[in-house]
Amino acid sequence: MPANGAPTKITQGSQTKGGIGESTLRPDGTLKVTGEFAYSSDMWHEDMLWGQILRSTVAHAEIVSIDISEALAMAGVYAVLTYDDLPTAVKNYGLEIQDTPVLAHGKVRHHGEPVALVAADHPETARRAAAKIKVDYRELPVITDEASATAPDAILVHEGRDDHHSGHVPHPNIVHRQPIVRGNADEAAKRADVIVKGEYTFGMQDQAFLGPESGLAVPEEDGGVHLYVATQWLHSDLKQIAPVLGLPEEKVRMTLAGVGGAFGGREDLSMQIHACLLALRTGKPVKIVYNRFESFFGHVHRHPAKLYYEHGATKDGKLTHMKCKIVLDGGAYASASPAVVGNASSLSVGPYVVDDVDIEAIALYTNNPPCGAMRGFGAVQACFAYEAQMDKLAKQLGMDPVEFRQLNAMEQGTIMPTGQPVDSPAPVAELLRRVKAMPLPPERQWESSEGADVRQLPGGLSNTTHGENVVRGIGIAVGIKNVGFSEGFDDYSTAKVRMEVIGGEPVATVHTAMAEVGQGGVTVHAQIARTELGVTQVTIHPADTQVGSAGSTSASRQTYVTGGAVKNACELVREKVLEIGRRKFGSYHPAWATAELLLEGGKVVTDGGEVLGDLVDVLEDETVEIEAEWRHRPTEAFDLVTGQGNGHVQYSFAAHRAVVEVDTELGLVKVIELACAQDVGKALNPLSVIGQIQGGTTQGLGVAVMEEIIVDPKTAKVRNPSFTDYLIPTILDTPTIPVDVLELADDHAPYGLRGIGEAPTLSSTPAVLAAIRNATGLELNRTPVRPEHLTGTV
C-alpha cells in the first residue's frame, strides 16, 4: 500500500497494455453515438404482446370500482389484470419498506399510480383498451407538505404502519427521522460573533435519463420467466419480483438489457413485475415500453426539500455551531427515503469542521410523486443550503468566501458530526484553492468585429440581449458525498473471473451482475483484468443473475465495490495460475519458489523482470475459474437519538467555480464556465473520470437554472410531465467545464480509488446560485432559479 495521500503505484500488470490508468475507450461508445446500440426498448420477440399500464388520474382517492369488461372484450386484447388477479399473498414491493402496491388496492396515493394492466397484440390496442377501463374514484384531500402531513387531523397516507421506522417516527406520515446531536450547539452559539439563519427550498428534479423504462418478459417452459430489463441492480429487482409472482428466485432469470441512463431512477422497480405477470398469465412474451410522459410517472424523483439552517462564527472566521432541520418530501411511497434521510443528516454540515451541532432530517409521506434515489442522494439538497450559508457568513464577517471556507475546511482526521473520523485524504482547502486559481474566461466574449455573437449571451439564439444589462457573476462551492451503501448495509459485490487459452492466446472472462448504466464499469473491469492477469484479451460477459449480486450501480460505488470484486477474483485466479505454473515448471527454475511473481504480457515474470514462462504453456487446456464475493470494510447504523456511528465507507469531494452572465433585466442566465476540481483517489480511466465529472456538473447546473417537476399544490398532480416543459440543459446551455483531477490514494480502497460519480453534482448547483447572487445581489433561497425570481415578477 502506498503512503497515505500519495498517488497509488501499480506493480502487477504495469507493463500490460490497456490496464488501469489508461483511457481505454468504451466498447459501446461508437454504437451509442451512431444509433446502433440495442437499448431495452429495441427488444423484439416472435409472437410478442405489448403491455400497457393504466395509471390513476388523481393523486389521492378511494377506488370505488373498476370495470374492465369493455377493455377485455376488445379484439386483440389477451389479458386485463387488476389487484384481484395478483397470484400470491405478496402484493407489495419496495427497496426497504414494502409499501408500494404492485397494483392499487382500494386506494391510490399519487398521480399516476398503476391501477390495471393490459396485454394486447399491438401497443395502440393496448393503450385503447386501457383507456376503456372504468375506474370510479372517490377523491380524498391531498397531503402535500409538512404542515398538511403532520396536522393533528391529517389523513394517514399509510394506515397501520409496522415497518422498522414506524416505532421511532414522531408521526405516521413521517417515513424516517434521523437526528444528530454532538457537542452543545446552544452553548457554542454563545461564542458566536455572527449568527446567520436561512430557509432554503430545493425543487423536485427528475433523472431525465434518455431511455425510458422498458423490458421484455419471456415465459419459460419450466413455468418460470426470463426478464430482460434496463435496471440498476438485477438482484434487488429479483428479490422483489419473485415473491409477487409466487416463483422461487431461480425460476425468475434476469438479464440486463441496454440501459439508457439511470441516475438513481432505476433503483426502484417500474414495469418489471407488470411484464412478468402479463407474460405468465398469457403464456406469451410481453414487452412494455414507457413513453416519456409515462416515464415521468414511472420512476421516483429527487426529493424536493425545505432546509432550515443556523450557523454561527467568531469574528476571526471560525464556525462555532450549526443547527438545521431538513424536510424531504418522500411522496406517496417510501422508496429510498430512509437512506436519503441518513445521508442528508450525516452530511448536512458539509466538508467543514463544526464540533457543536444539532441536526434533524425527516422524510414525509405525502400524496406528491414518490421520491427516492437520484445522483447525490440527500447530500445535494444539503450542499445547496450550507454553501449558501457559507457565503452569507463570509459576507457578514467581511471575509473572502474561499478563505472563509478554507479556514473551516475538514481534513484527514476531522471528526464528522456522527463521531466518525475521516481517515483518508480530505483535500477540501486544496480543491478550493485549485478552482479559485484557474484562469477566468475573458470578459464580454460575445463582442466581435461582426457584432454580438448571441450564442455567448443569456437568451442565446432567442436574441434577447446584445449585451444590455448583462452582468457577470462568479461563485464557488464545495461538497462532500459518501461513497457506497452506508449505515451497516452489507454492501458486497460478486465477480466470476475465468482464465483459459483460446486460439493460442490467454483470455480472461469477467462475469458480474453489474448494471452498466453509462458509468463505464464494462471498460474498467476489462482494465482491471488486464492489470491483474497480464493479458490483453478480456471478454466482459453480459450481466445477469447467473452470477452473484454486484449490488447497485449507485452511490458512486461500482468501481470501488464491483471493481474491487473483479480485482479480488483476478488475484485469486492469478494465485491459482501461479500454483499450476509452480506445479508444472517449478523444478526448472528456483525463482518459481523464491521470487515475487507477476503476470505480464501473457507471461509469468519475476519482479526483477525475468521471464519464467508463457501463460499459454502454464494453462494449456486448463481453465481457471473463480467466483468470489468481496466486501469493503463494514459500517454501522446511526444511533436513532444521537446520530452517532461509523456510518459511511468513504467520502468524495469536489469543488466548483461558476462564471455566469446574467441579463438582470430579463432574468436570463448563461453559465459561461463551470470549473471543477475533484479528488478521485486514482483515475482508473481518466477519460471516463472527466466524463463523469462533466456529466455530474451539468446535471447540477440543470437544477440550478431550469430543471423542476412542478406539482400543483392543490391537486398534487404533475403539471409538466414532458421534455417540452421539463427542461434539461442543451449543449448551448452547457458551459466549458475545465477539470482538475487530484489522485490522493485512500488506503482502504482498491488502488486507492475514490467513488466519483456523484460529488460533482453537489457543488455545481450552489456554485451557479452563488454566481447568480454575485451578479444580481439577490438572496435567492430556492433552486432552480427562474426568470421571475430574478425580476421580482413571481
Binding site: 434577447t464 416543459d725 442543451t730
Partner: protein
C-alpha cells in the same frame, strides 16, 4: 386513423372537402407531438408531402410568397434580406432537425399563441393564402387570421397554400424569452418592424395573450411620436422616455396567464423589455449606426 396521401394540390383540396375533419400534416413537428401525447386522434391525417410547390417560394416586387411547407432552415438561409424578422424567428424554432422539417404553414394551422412565426408575420404584415375546392383562393390578412386560442379563420374545407409576407422596407427584429438558451417554447416573444415607406411601425406579441396580437396602442403612440419629432427624416436617437412609453404600452397590450412556463407578471415585464430593446436595435439600424447583428446558424 386514415392516412390520406393526395398527389396534387387539387386532390388535397378535394380530400379536405370530403373529410373536413382531416388534419393536414407536412413537417409533422406539431401534429405528431399531439398524436404521440394522445392529445388528439384525428379521424384522418392529410399528408401534404407529395405536393412539391408547398416547399417553394417566390420573391415578388412587394412581397414574398412563401409556400406553407418551406422549412424554417430555408427561410434562415435564403430569405434573410427579404424577411429578416421571420428569419430571426426561424432561428429560435426548436432544434436544427425540427427546423429542417417544420414550416410556417404548420404554425398558422395550429395557431398556438406560442408559435414562433406569428410575431414576425404580424410585424412584417402578411396575408394567408387559403384555398378550398368549392370557393377557390382567398387572402386572409394576418390581423384577422388568429381568432382564439389555437383557432384561426380557416373554414373546415380550406387548406393553407402559402403566406404572402411583405418584403422588409426597413429594419426588423425578433426576440423570444425561454427558460433555456435553445430549443425552448416561448415564454413570450416580440417582433418589431420599421416601415420607413409608410412611416409606420408594426409589432407582434407571442405567448402573452390568448392569440398572437399586435400592440396597436403602442404602435399608434410611436407612429405619432416619430412623426411629431421628425425622426424619420432627422434620424435622431429616440428619447428614452418615448422608448419607455412604447415599452409600457406593449406590456399593456398583453393579456397573459400564469402557467407552468412563466407568470403573467413576468410576461408583461419581459415583453416591455424586448419592445424597448428591439426598438433600440431597429432604430439604430435605421439611423445606419448599427452593425449587423444576427445569430449564427
Amino acid at each position: 386513423m386514415d392516412f390520406l396521401r393526395p398527389a396534387s394540390w387539387e386532390e388535397a383540396l378535394a380530400a379536405k372537402a370530403e373529410h373536413p375533419t382531416a388534419v393536414p400534416i407536412a413537417g409533422g413537428t406539431d401534429v405528431m407531438v399531439e398524436i404521440n401525447f394522445d392529445h388528439r386522434r384525428p379521424e384522418y391525417l392529410l399528408d401534404l408531402n407529395r405536393i412539391g410547390d408547398l416547399t417553394e417560394w417566390e420573391v415578388g416586387e412587394e412581397s414574398v410568397r412563401l409556400g406553407a411547407s418551406v422549412p424554417y432552415t430555408r427561410i434562415m438561409e435564403n430569405l434573410r434580406a427579404e424577411l429578416p424578422g421571420l428569419a430571426l424567428a426561424s432561428h429560435t424554432v426548436a432544434s436544427p432537425q425540427i427546423r429542417n422539417r417544420g414550416g410556417v404553414g404548420g404554425n398558422l394551422g395550429t395557431a398556438s399563441p406560442a408559435g414562433d412565426a406569428h410575431p414576425a408575420l404580424l410585424a412584417a404584415g402578411a396575408e394567408v393564402e387559403a384555398e378550398s375546392a368549392a370557393r377557390g383562393t382567398r387572402l386572409i390578412p394576418i390581423d384577422e387570421f388568429y381568432t382564439g386560442v389555437k383557432r384561426n379563420a380557416l373554414q373546415p374545407d380550406e387548406l393553407i397554400r402559402a403566406v404572402h409576407v411583405k418584403k422588409a422596407d426597413g429594419p426588423q427584429q425578433y426576440s423570444k424569452v425561454g427558460t433555456r438558451n435553445a430549443m425552448v417554447i416561448a415564454v413570450c416573444a416580440f417582433g418589431l418592424a420599421l416601415h420607413p415607406e409608410t412611416r409606420t411601425v408594426r409589432t407582434g406579441i407571442g405567448s402573452a395573450a390568448p392569440t398572437p396580437v399586435r400592440a396597436k396602442a403602442a404602435e399608434e403612440f410611436l407612429n405619432a411620436a416619430l412623426e411629431e419629432g421628425g425622426f424619420w427624416d432627422n434620424g435622431k436617437i429616440i428619447t428614452p422616455s418615448v422608448a419607455k412609453q412604447f415599452a409600457d404600452l406593449c406590456s399593456a397590450g398583453c393579456n397573459p396567464i400564469d402557467d407552468v412556463r412563466g407568470t403573467a407578471s413576468y410576461r408583461r415585464h419581459a415583453v416591455g423589455v424586448m419592445a424597448r430593446r428591439t426598438l433600440t436595435w431597429t432604430w439604430e439600424s435605421y439611423r445606419g449606426t448599427r452593425r449587423t447583428i444576427e445569430g449564427a446558424a
